[in-house]
Structure formats: C-alpha cells, structure tokens
Symmetry: C2
Subunit: 412 residues, 2 copies
C-alpha cells in the first residue's frame, strides 16, 4: 500500500467525459490498495473565460476578487470528479483550498503555499480510504480567510505541496504528454522520453523554458524530496506507461553529462552602451528594475573599447521589455550611458546536466558547434549544472537540434 | 442613512455589462449614504450548465458535491460585482457563504438557513462603508464545513435572511419585472402592479404559483418583519421605480377583499374510487405518500353513491404524479379501492386576500362566475385568506381573467 497524490491538468479534465477517463486512473490506484488524494485543475478553457470576465469588469481588477472568481474553476472540477468517483463506487469527496486547508501568503494572484494541513484528508483515508479530490491552484489566507491563488500553472505546485503535507510516497502529475523529453519533440523529432531525471536538472529545465512542470512545483518536490512522476492521462487506464520519474540524483544509475536541452522565447535583451564605469553602477541599473518587480536574468558586463566606460547587457521577460526600457530611460540622470539598445527577437537555449559538475569543457564544445553553424552568440551564462546562450530567434530550431545531437541525446 | 440589502437575480447579472448596470443601482444607494449588502445569483444560464455537468457525471449525483459545483456560479458573480464596484471607486469585497458565514442545515441541495453571522459585514460598514457583495443561494454546514445550497431560487431567501441577520431597514429584490402584479400580466393584460402587498398575501401568492418570489424568502420576511421591495434592475439607475413593497398588513391603508389571482400548472390530480370507508383509510393512503416525500395538496373526500365506500381526490406536484400512482397501486392490498384515476392536464387557480377574513361569500361568487363560463370545478380548498379551485388546464386563461375582473382588479 502506498499513499499518493494524482494531479490532472486542464486538458485531462476538459469535459465530463475526460473527467471520467481520469477517474479510471484513480480507480486503478485505489484498487491496487493505495490511499489517494487527487488534485484537479479547472476544465480547459474555463480559467481563460473567468479571467476575461475579470478584465471586462475592470482592466485593473482587484487581485483578491480575481482570486475569488478564478478559483471557482477548480471548485467545479473537484465536485464533478468526486461525483464520478462515487458513481464508480469509490468513496470520495471534494476539498476546496479553504477546507483542507492549504494556507497561502496574502500575495493574491501569485500566493506562496505557507502550510498544508492534511489532517482532514488523512482522517478520510483512515475511515474508509476515501479519495480526497482537491482543488488545485488555490489556498486560503489564514488571517483574512480569503481565497488566494498560486498563479497560472499553480495546480502542479498544489499537488507536490499536498504530497509533502500528506507525507505521500509519490506524486503523479498526469498531463497531455507522456513524460519529460530531452527537448521539445515538436522541434526535435528525435527527442527521447527520459525514464528518470534529477530534481536539480528538472528545476533548471522548468526555469529555462520547458513547460512540462511549473518551476515552484519542482522546487517543492526537490526540497521536500517528493518522488514525482510526469505521465499521460490519455494512456489506457488499465495499462498506463510509467512516464518520467523526477527523483534524487543518487537514484539515477546511468548519468549523462547533458540530460536535456531547453529553450525560452520569453526573453528580451537590453544593452546599455558606454556606461560610466564607476562603483555602484550595477546597483544604479538593477536596483530600480528589482523595485519595479522586473526579473533580470543573464547579465554580462564588458569594458568598452575606450577603456573608460563599460557595456552592460542583460535579459528581461518579453512582457517587461518596454517597461524596463522606459524605466532606464527615465534614469538617464543617475546612470550615465551613451545609448540604450534592445532586441526582442532573441531566444535563450540551455543545456542541463548534473554531469557538467565533473566534466570540463562541456559548454566550450557547444560554442564551437554553434559557431560552425554560423550562429552568433549574444550572451552566455553558466552555472554548476547548466549553461545558456542567447541567440537570434531565427536560429532556434537549428541551435536546439545541433546541441541535442552534439550531446548524444538523439534517439535511435 | 439606512442599512439595506439589494439582491440581483440571474437575468440582472447575466453578463458583465449587466453587472455594471446593477452596480449603478448600488452606487445610487451608497451615494445616498446607505450601508449596503448586495446578494447576487449566478449569471443567467450558468447554474443550468453546472447542473447539466453534474447529471452528465452521474444521473444520481451526490448532493453534497452538486452543492460544491453549483455554488461556484454565485462565487463568480460576487467577485465580478466587487471588481466593478471598486472600479467605480466604491469600497467593496465579495463574501462567500462560508466566509460570512451563513450557516445552513446539512440538507444538501435544499438546506435551510440556520443562522447568519453578520459581524464581519458590519465591521466593513463601520470601517469605510464597504459594500458586502454576498453570494446568494449558499451557506456552510457548521460541523462538516461543507458548502450547502438552498435549492433553486434560494438567492431570494439568502437576501431576506441576510437582511434579518444584519437588522437591515429593508431588502430590495431586483428582478426582471417591476413589481408584484395582481396576476400574471402575460395572461391578463389588465393586471395591475401593486404598490403594497401584505406578507401573508405574498406568502400565499408565492405558494400558489406566482413566481416572482421564492416561498421561503417570503416566510422569513414575514416572521422576521423585513420590509421587502420587488423592483426592476432594468429601470434607469438614476431614476428607478419604487416597485412593490411587501410589508405588514397594518401598513396597508386601502385593503381590498381580493388582492391577487395566482395559478399553478404544476398540479396533477389523483382520484381513488370506491375506497372501503373504514377508520384509518386516510392514513393508509397519505402515510406512504408522505414517507415517499410526495407533497399532497388539495384533498377532498366524498361518500360514494353506494354509501358504503368513499371517493378520495387529491393533488400532487406533476413531477411526482407517476411515482404517486405507482406507489398507491403497490398498496392495493392495504388500501382497498375499485379504481385509480388521474389527470395531469389540470390547473389550480387561487384568489388571495386578507379581506376574505372579514367578508363572507367571497369564494361562492367565484364558483358562480366560473359556472356561468361553463368551467367545471374538480376540487376546491379554502383557507383563511385564499381559496383555490382545480379546473381543466384548457380553461386557465378564461378562469384567471374571469376572477380578475370579478374582484375588481382590472386596470383602467
């Protein structure tokens, strides 16, 4: 007997028919003798409808009310899933975030999970192995008793946090793909599904553009050590594939140097030319950006050819590009620079692998391979288990395929 | 300054545009210096969509889960209304049933309101005259902490119960008609809108088929003495009509003998012929029907022409007709009767007026007038302030118009 959390995303519960199919996966696990908590997203399309209404109500809508409106989507799915399970003869009940409760911070629209109280759900397990069908994406703020949501994609985070709170043996994330691939199979048909990937690598992949799991869900899985599977809800419920296991590095026998290639088109580049190179200049640039809640990613500073000034290049999310430029233009008095340049038609390509820790020259091989294809590198950042390059967006597919082959990830 | 509850039904909040219009009514009352709690229904059509999903999930769906699913409809409206009000510069926040809390019985799908705790809402009034936007139709069960709903049309009940809980000066029910009429204007074009109607009369009208208010909302208004207006949300928010006031009989100066004519098509007639007339026969018939949760309304018993047996006629809701017949057929051993007859093409016409208490022969005039039109009366019941006749459905309009004229209710 195991205790597990099974999470079904929006496409897996898009219709009542699909909810019934998802329920057959739950049934399989219950009949195998397991204690099961299910986490559901809103039916596909519903969240967008609710968000559109909020925007129609007021372009600058109140975030707390937005949370109240959009959290209703998961509430509907949880009730329907419980109805379906009971119809199948499986004891089940729905749990909203405030009922469990899952306590969140008061950052409406992007709350962090503060605590999960699993006592009520566990009491149901003990009573009659009752399946707990929990609304994902939502929690309640302890003091105000108001509904908070975790931000888009937050149901993955709900699932992993609930698994940690329930001390579950594992968390199964059911989605519309059958696992984690070495890269996006739509770009590289030779991409392979991985059997296992380490928490650290998955965290980098999620951070660097792979959309299969939400970053914070991987963070929690890693810090709380929750073995997490990514698998398909469209498999035959009687005979499903295992998917990809995200687990401790030590549980992976055959380590590759590079495990996967990720890419993100959500990058924009800003370069400040001939910045007066004096102490505190970095703070003068990046302080205001941080205050404006703009995430700065890659940062490169090189001394200009005149030796007295410096060029500073960095990237921001595409959505913040205009705001960042305007902000820096308004700071021309405090940051003395000659020119501000920018580009939005750029892409960040990353290679991830824990093997990089012990192998030198991994990135250098990539730079060479990309140069041979005539791909110009605009910026580079590296960390212990990954490196990223910023290139022109037009070369995305070529660069991803080049690196995928270079590190021996191609199937067959 | 007054404290009031304003309730908007499904058609009044069917779209974001209509929510904005309803909000303009709220704005008028807030700017007049009033403390306002708003009660909203689900956007028109949404509840039906949610109910359809429950039925698709399982024909015999779990009622507690049904409540969780359908209560989400009001949650959406309350959030959107709060967004709109805040956009207008009016302090406002949404309140779900469990947040207020409105405590309900555990009769999922048709819970009774047990208690309303208005402290949180009143604290908002005191702080900054914050408008409380409350989800109608829902409450929470105190022990299980699960969502309960009050049954269809329950938002009227929520509004009146909240008005009582907040000790409001009045409750305004905004709907798609501009008040309570002497009868259905679609059937009698000469029907008049009443300025005032007593709680007792409104209760009878609601019970007897008038759809303008839910019966239980009138019961609560009456027992808690909440002056309640029925008025139109489609009036000009700057210059609305007052609608119809439902109030104490004593507050109505000009009393009419008959105030209104109601009718209900939701009736079916069952007649048991030649029932052995012995003690306990009524209990043998109506006991099992009560056990099966079938509401029996009009009951008439007459001795048969053979003097040894009796004929018993009664009505049940159309939806329960087949079930009631089958049940009685199965009891043929204990209830000895010769034949069971039934009819579903019948209608109950009722005349209501507190003046009947002090005027004799009010009903007799009706029987004569209907007979003169060749309308056969199948059954009659009377009470202190109303009488009802069961007739063939084909004569509905003729009978309603005849009585409406007879009692001097025609306009002009």
């Amino acid at each position: 007997m195991a205790r597990l959390v099974m999470k079904f995303g929006g496409t897996s519960v898009a219709t009542v028919e699909r909810i019934k199919n998802a329920a057959r996966h739950v049934k399989r696990e219950v009949e195998a003798g397991n204690e099961v908590a299910v986490v559901v997203s809103a039916m596909s399309g519903k969240t967008n409808e609710l968000v559109a209404w909020c925007k129609e109500a007021a372009p600058l809508y109140d975030q707390a009310e937005y949370d109240t409106v959009v959290a209703s989507g998961e509430q509907v799915t949880s009730g329907l899933m419980a109805i379906v399970l009971r119809e199948m003869g499986i004891p089940a009940r729905s749990w909203q975030g405030w009922q469990i409760p899952i306590y969140g911070s008061d950052a409406h629209g992007s709350a962090r999970i503060v605590d999960v109280d699993g006592a009520g759900i566990i009491a149901g397990f003990d009573r009659n192995r009752e399946v707990a069908v929990c609304s994902g994406f939502q929690g309640v703020h302890a003091e105000s008793r108001r509904i908070v949501t975790l931000g888009r994609g937050g149901s993955d985070t709900s699932a992993v946090a609930l698994a940690a709170g329930l001390k579950a043996d594992r968390c199964d994330i059911y989605t519309d793909v059958d696992g984690v691939y070495t890269t996006d199979p739509r770009i590289v048909p030779k991409a392979k599904r991985m059997d296992k990937v380490s928490f650290e690598e998955m965290l980098e992949m999620a951070s660097l553009g792979s959309k299969v799991l939400q970053v914070r869900s991987v963070e929690i899985a890693m810090t709380q050590r929750v073995p997490t599977y990514v698998r398909s809800s469209f498999d035959d419920p009687e005979n499903p594939n295992p998917g990809t296991l995200i687990c401790d590095e030590d549980d992976i026998v055959e380590q590759q140097i590079v495990t996967g290639i990720a890419f993100s088109r959500d990058e924009a580049q800003i370069t400040l030319r001939r910045v007066a190179d004096k102490p505190g200049v970095a703070a003068a640039i990046f302080g205001p950006l941080a205050d404006a809640n703009i995430n700065v990613d890659m940062i490169i500073q090189v001394v200009s050819d005149d030796q007295a000034t410096t060029d500073i290049t960095f990237t921001v999310p595409t959505a913040d590009y205009e705001r960042a430029r305007t902000l820096l233009e308004s700071k021309h008095d405090t940051i003395s620079y000659q020119e501000i340049q920018g580009a939005t038609d750029v892409v960040k390509i990353s290679a991830i692998g824990v093997g990089m820790r012990s192998h030198a020259g991994v990135a250098a091989r990539a730079f060479r391979a990309l140069a041979e294809k005539g791909i110009n590198i605009r910026a580079i950042t590296t960390s212990e288990i990954k490196f990223s390059v910023l290139i022109d967006a037009a070369y995305t597919e070529l660069a991803v395929r080049t690196l995928h082959s270079l590190y021996g990830l191609d199937a067959g």
